[in-house]
């Protein structure tokens, strides 16, 4: 009656797999038996990732995908399913961040963040759902990568917060509309984690001060998300969870 992290037989499509969280998620899911459709825009980086997964005995294919382009999303899913079989897990991770005061944000800033982080998540989920519903059986899991920014304001990240709040709302509506099809949709809400995107700031003296104010006075790496990722990706372990927001932030938002 324990739960298994064994994802053998599962096919996971991970967006934004070229770097950061996405790359890590792909490796973690692969290490636990899932076949991986590594989706993103950087062909070289995706190929590297695929090689790494295969060298560790896993199975993966690179999938060119621009999440802001519906046709690219559709084509990407088609490739994934031809190569690996029906996609049963989607990690809706592609996301960008930026820093700007509200008064200084340009229309281009707004569009960039909202298109990738909110619209992209919508388009990928929509395509995934079409495939999963058509198959009409068993379960599918969609994991939307939101953020603590969905719930808490901070300076210079207004558009990012807005996009993540939109993702939490979407997660609930997806869960509601697709519950009858056995599809579970949940949102993973990470706190601040050391990645390519965040390291520039958190390595500065100011960044280190911020870290000192957190309850555990430390910053972690993407592996701290593994447990919840595997839980949400597993067909049995989280079958009773849908529409949930799971914050994994080491107490940063307390």
């Amino acid at each position: 009656m324990s739960f298994t992290c064994d994802l053998s037989g599962e096919v996971a499509l991970v967006t934004g797999a070229s770097s950061g969280f996405g790359r890590h998620f792909a490796l973690t899911l692969a290490a636990n038996g899932a076949a991986i459709a590594a989706a993103g825009r950087s062909r070289d980086r995706l190929s590297e990732l695929v090689q790494e997964i295969e060298s560790q005995g896993g199975r993966a294919v690179p999938v060119a995908m621009d999440v802001t382009d519906p046709e690219s999303v559709r084509a990407g899913f088609e490739v994934a399913e031809i190569e690996l079989g029906p996609v049963s897990v989607v990690v809706n991770n592609a996301g960008v961040a930026t820093v700007h005061m509200v008064a200084d944000a340009t229309e281009a800033d707004y569009d960039r963040i909202l298109d990738t982080n909110a619209k992209g998540v919508f388009l990928v989920a929509q395509e995934a759902g079409k495939h999963m519903i058509k198959r009409g059986h068993k379960s599918g899991r969609i994991i939307n990568v939101a953020s603590i920014s969905a719930f808490k304001a901070a300076r210079q990240v207004s558009t990012y917060c807005m996009s993540k709040a939109a993702v939490t709302s979407l997660t609930r509506t997806l869960a509601l509309e697709w519950a009858p099809y056995g599809i579970n949709v949940n949102a993973l809400c990470p706190g601040v984690i050391m990645t390519e995107m965040t390291q520039a700031f958190y390595n500065t003296p100011h960044g280190k001060d911020v870290i000192k104010r957190w309850p555990r006075q430390r910053i972690s790496d993407p592996s701290s998300l593994d447990g919840v990722l595997l839980l949400l990706a597993s067909p049995d372990a989280s079958s009773f969870m849908t529409g949930s927001m799971i914050v994994v932030d080491d107490g940063q938002t307390l």
Partner: protein
């Protein structure tokens, strides 16, 4: 010590003023003494509303504005401030919804809803906020979201996303602009009877819906007056970054 419901001397800009909430907000603010810039896409309706407000001794100016067009937004704010004076109250109300299940939502649906309900309000708040900051006199911004910001409703995925986004927008703007004495809050109304939904809510299906509410009633437009006037006045300067639900308990 008591609330001043008197908005004499205030200049307000209300979006989506050609119908529903926006129209009512404009009337209420004008009746309380504010000069109101009323905006929307239908010039003839704006003219009618302006004439109505002026006929009652108020002051209003209709300005055609398309919230999906940043240039139109900037122009409207320019015109309002040139003709009426510095804007100190913004009611970010324009919004649309397109009821469609997620699998049926087209890209055009998504863009229309998010651009009207979130991007437009963001750019407008920026435009008005920048000017408030420059003048150093503070001001009040009231973002009109919905009870659907927090709960899922079948067929309203994009709408819900835009309203949840608006709540986050309010929090971030409140944080960044607190120091400039700008107060920005979100109003989340429940189902309120308007011209547009009245027929539905009197139908058999609609009546069943109303009966399922804890209070078995829809809200009325006048029910929104209290909170609107409070947030527009100087009596709520300790409230910023807040989300105020005004929904008769419907989502409970």
């Amino acid at each position: 010590m008591s609330i001043s419901c008197n908005l004499d001397g205030k200049v307000a800009l209300v979006t989506g003023a050609t119908s529903g909430f926006g129209q009512h907000f404009a009337r209420t603010l004008a009746a309380s003494g504010a000069t109101v810039a009323i905006t929307g896409r239908r010039g003839d309706r704006l003219d009618e509303l302006q004439a109505e407000i002026e006929g009652k001794g108020g002051r209003a100016l209709g300005i055609v504005m398309d919230v999906m067009d940043p240039a139109s937004i900037r122009n409207a704010v320019d015109v309002a401030e040139t003709e009426l004076g510095a804007i100190n109250v913004l009611v970010n109300n324009a919004g649309i919804s397109r009821e469609r299940l997620i699998v049926d939502v087209t890209e055009e649906d998504y863009d229309a809803v998010l651009d009207t309900n979130l991007k437009g309000p963001y750019i407008l708040a920026q435009e008005v906020g920048r000017r408030m900051i420059e003048r150093g006199e503070g001001g009040n911004i009231i973002n009109i979201a919905s009870m659907m910001a927090y709960r899922p409703y079948r067929g309203l995925s994009a709408y819900g996303m835009s309203k949840a986004g608006m709540v986050a927008m309010t929090r971030c703007m409140a944080l960044e602009w607190a120091r400039y004495n700008i107060n920005i809050n979100t109003l989340c109304p429940g189902y309120v009877e308007t011209d547009m939904n009245s027929e539905y809510f009197h139908s058999e299906k609609g009546l069943k819906v109303v009966n399922s509410f804890p209070g078995k009633a829809l809200g009325k437009l006048d029910d929104l007056n209290g909170i609107l006037l409070l947030l527009a006045s100087d009596s709520a300067e300790f409230m910023t970054g807040s989300t105020i639900e005004i929904d008769g308990g419907q989502p409970l």
